[in-house]
Symmetry: C2
Subunit: 535 residues, 2 copies
């Protein structure tokens, strides 16, 4: 109709920053999340699914890396109430823990998996809806809860296919960090709001250790830093002595490593046997109880020295020591979990132990340069989130796995879920005999074989085979008038056919035909045999 | 702090009409959806997961039962674009089919499972976020696609635990309905917009057959109907002859049933053998090919008589006949799928076959009265939804399962997923020995047993057992100083313990102790034995 031509049609597009997930993407994510859920379940965690929509009031303003209130969320007004899409799975948990506090077991271990939404500028690989996969324990003050989360995270990573040695979980404690700040004279326990700006700069500087190195971080702690382009970033203005305290803390992990290595060198002279234990401790790849203990114990010792005199700092070190001991008792040593003071974690709400899972293998970035894969999960203790609602402090700790990053890591390691096989396609040679073709499909399905009849216009037979190709079908079934009269079907091995078409000589082609004729009664067994051949 | 007291705390509440799903609810839904997905997959359907957010423009205004534009969706403005939460899974599919039309296989069979959002007045059991579970075939004009959807729906219902005989899938065709309207003189193919108001009243009246009965519907077709309270609803104002045509159609199914029953009575005189076939046909509970055919064939015959002379009506009847034949060839007879002209389906966008799955067993409603469970799934052919985007007609058909209703049905039939067992709880008798308790937990988990250490304050041991009770733990592990010194643990069978506490005599109590002491090395095998005893 000509008059329709000028009419504006709606655009067939996702909104900016949103995307669709197709068959294999949905399947790979589901397989991974099912495996993680099984680990969480084994640890005694229960599933919880809250709704996507919360009141803005209940969500609060805990979005990381966002300064302005209500920035970063999708929100709208509904009959006087402001509603919003959840930006993470922790804020809804805090609401649930408060709402059902009289009914839930305490401690309450729960896991949650689902999409969250961020109203941020989308970029390459950065979407405004993405999956999170969290586990939290609410109501447990003991650091045994933190240790358990770390062990569970380790098990989950191995369960989905990240091999031991390809990841490490780094544990730190905000209290140790506060102790260091106190020792450096930029935290006054009597007036926590003093020096807040300085501490902010220090935290951001520590977070950049990977990128800027020791000298860069130190410059940011002091006067400031000029980058390669000549741009100047103002520093925290700490004195040289203050900088030294902070930098001892930041580099504690390297220091411990070199001490252990030096010990190893010395020990080689004494005893090959003892040395091998220490080598493992330094490298962190041994399963022996002895070796495990050394590294984390050395770190604890070193940290205690740094925060000496700060009450909160010493409390934090004692917690780290207890976490390491508890993990050790379960066999989780520094080959999997290490104490590492350089882990800061951005979120303002952490109050105690913080942890981060990092993948240690190299991948090639978009510019072809090798780089470490980096962080795939993180979490920590947040003792004040539930208090917002109830006025009563409720200790809580948890972890969040970045689902898309972990999926990307598995794909990079070739450990992703293989694509599901396409269906067997029963082609339509004669459209008056659709019922018979449907019957064949039905027989195949009843035998547990994924199958379908070609439902497009059957006129062009070539299109049917092209369709089967697009579906990655392993087998096509063909039955024309002639075959029907004789009670047989043609069974075409599409995988072999594609291979032969590419590389076979005429002799090979003849010796191993990609298409066989069998009685209709042998349809299922023939299809099964072909599919079995290709695994 | 006294000054905090007056401060307003956020309310720990879900927004109105939203709810949370806890462990068992999440698990039961997941189990059901996994089973349905396996059926869909076997039928050759691929998963698709679109984002929750779409542009308002792409969603369009196809929300059922809503008259005002943009009513019924949650929408907000974002930098000049209007965004909204999807209200079903069909509108996003139409967008995807248009957006990726050059990449997707055609026909495109896809399934989707996930939450949808409706901005409607919430009520008891009516929520503003709920799950749908859809399967659709886009790009197949053949009614073989509709037949396949019906067969797949039948398989899915049986797979999740609805027994054959407890459900029926009713199939009708919008074209037949249009044919009847044409014969009754309220549809003019040359000017489809004439009599639109009358047709609306007729459709709504037919939809109320269950509630108002034959006389009520007939009254609404004519002058109108006065209900028990005296309120008068204006009718469509059809003549008596017009009403008769419509009512013949509406009651076609009953007519066919009585004809078949009458035939049975007559046949009893002739042949017990033949009669039994017809009894099955009338009752629809036979698997014999002969019986299957009769009922749907009789309905088709009767409908052809009613729409005689209307081209579209005859086309619709021919389609129903073909669907019945295709289903019959796969063994799906009227014990599972019947042609039933009383199925109308509200959605404006259906253009051909429509279907509805109804559960036929009785449940007790909230007032204690028995009633049929009713509809749990529905769908049909909608050939114009993709055209909105591309201008080209794309035939499509599909079904949507009401996830919550089907879950409720399974629970009502006692066929729901059993609750997952709680974890084994290792209690904390001595808080200096947490590492040892954690080690026991770790050993149990490594053996695949769901287990946890009590993470609350261990001071009050009674609280620990109360916690285990709340978690529905099968077993508690206890090790005090004394047991630790002797290298043993107490293993407490909590299920047996609860049973004995309720009903056992002292002798029974002594004969079968609910608590045994075993060497630590026998922890796993002892726990396994107890759990095995309770299945």
């Amino acid at each position: 109709m000509a008059k329709d031509k000028g009419q504006r049609r709606p655009k067939a597009e996702t909104p900016k920053g949103f995307r669709d997930y197709f068959a294999h993407e949905v399947g790979a994510r589901k397989t991974m999340l099912d495996k993680i859920a099984a680990v969480y379940h084994r640890y005694g965690f229960d599933a919880l699914e809250t709704s996507a929509v919360e009141t803005v009031e209940a969500l609060g303003k805990f979005l990381p890396d966002v300064d302005r209130p209500n920035e970063g969320v999708f929100a709208w007004e509904e009959e006087g109430d402001w509603l919003a899409l959840r930006y993470d799975l922790t804020a809804p948990l805090a609401r649930v823990a408060a709402q059902y506090r009289n009914d839930l077991p305490s401690p309450y271990r729960r896991y949650a998996m689902g999409p969250v939404w961020r109203n941020e500028k989308p970029g390459p690989g950065r979407f405004r809806q993405f999956y999170q996969c969290d586990a939290d324990t609410v109501g447990a003050a003991s650091v045994a809860a933190d240790a358990e989360i770390c062990a569970m995270l380790s098990d989950a990573l191995e369960e989905v296919g990240i091999a031991r040695g390809d990841y490490v979980i780094r544990v730190n404690n905000r209290k140790v960090l506060n102790g260091v700040m106190e020792v450096a004279g930029i935290l006054d326990p009597a007036d926590p709001s003093r020096f807040e700006a300085e501490r902010g700069i220090v935290l951001r500087a520590i977070d950049k250790l990977d990128r800027l190195g020791v000298d860069g971080v130190r410059a940011l702690l002091g006067e400031g830093r000029k980058d390669a382009s000549g741009d100047f970033t103002k520093g925290a203005g700490l004195t040289s002595a203050q900088c030294t305290v902070i930098m001892r803390f930041v580099t504690a992990n390297q220091t411990v490593s070199s001490i252990l290595s030096a010990q190893v060198d010395a020990a080689v002279e004494v005893s090959k046997q003892y040395a091998s234990t220490l080598v493992h401790a330094a490298g962190g790849d041994s399963k022996s109880g002895r070796a495990r203990n050394i590294r984390n114990k050395a770190t604890v010792h070193h940290l205690r020295d740094i925060v000496g005199g700060s009450e909160v700092g010493e409390e934090g070190v004692a917690e780290l020591e207890e976490i390491a001991a508890l993990l050790d008792a379960q066999g989780y040593g520094p080959d999997r979990i290490i104490i590492d003071p350089s882990v800061v974690r951005g979120l303002g709400y952490y109050t105690g132990p913080v942890f981060e899972a990092e993948l240690t293998f190299e991948i090639t970035d978009e510019k072809g340069r090798p780089r470490q894969f980096g962080s795939v999960a993180g979490g920590g203790r947040y003792d004040d989130l539930v208090k917002r609602f109830t006025g009563q402090a409720v200790p809580a700790t948890g972890v969040s796995i970045g689902v898309d990053r972990l999926l990307a890591a598995l794909a990079a390691k070739g450990r992703g879920t293989p694509e599901a096989q396409g269906p067997v396609v029963v082609t339509v040679m004669d459209r008056t005999r659709m019922a018979e073709y449907m019957g064949m499909v039905s027989t195949l399905r009843a035998a547990g074989i994924r199958a379908e009849m070609y439902l497009g216009n059957p006129k062009n037979f070539g299109n049917q085979l092209k369709y089967a190709d697009k579906r990655q079908s392993p087998v096509a079934i063909i039955q024309g008038e002639d075959e029907a009269a004789r009670g047989v079907v043609q069974v075409k091995d599409l995988i072999l056919g594609a291979k032969l078409a590419q590389e076979a000589s005429l002799e090979e082609w003849k010796a191993q035909p990609a298409q066989v004729e069998v009685p209709l009664a042998e349809l299922v067994q023939t299809v099964r045999a072909i599919m079995g051949r290709h695994g």
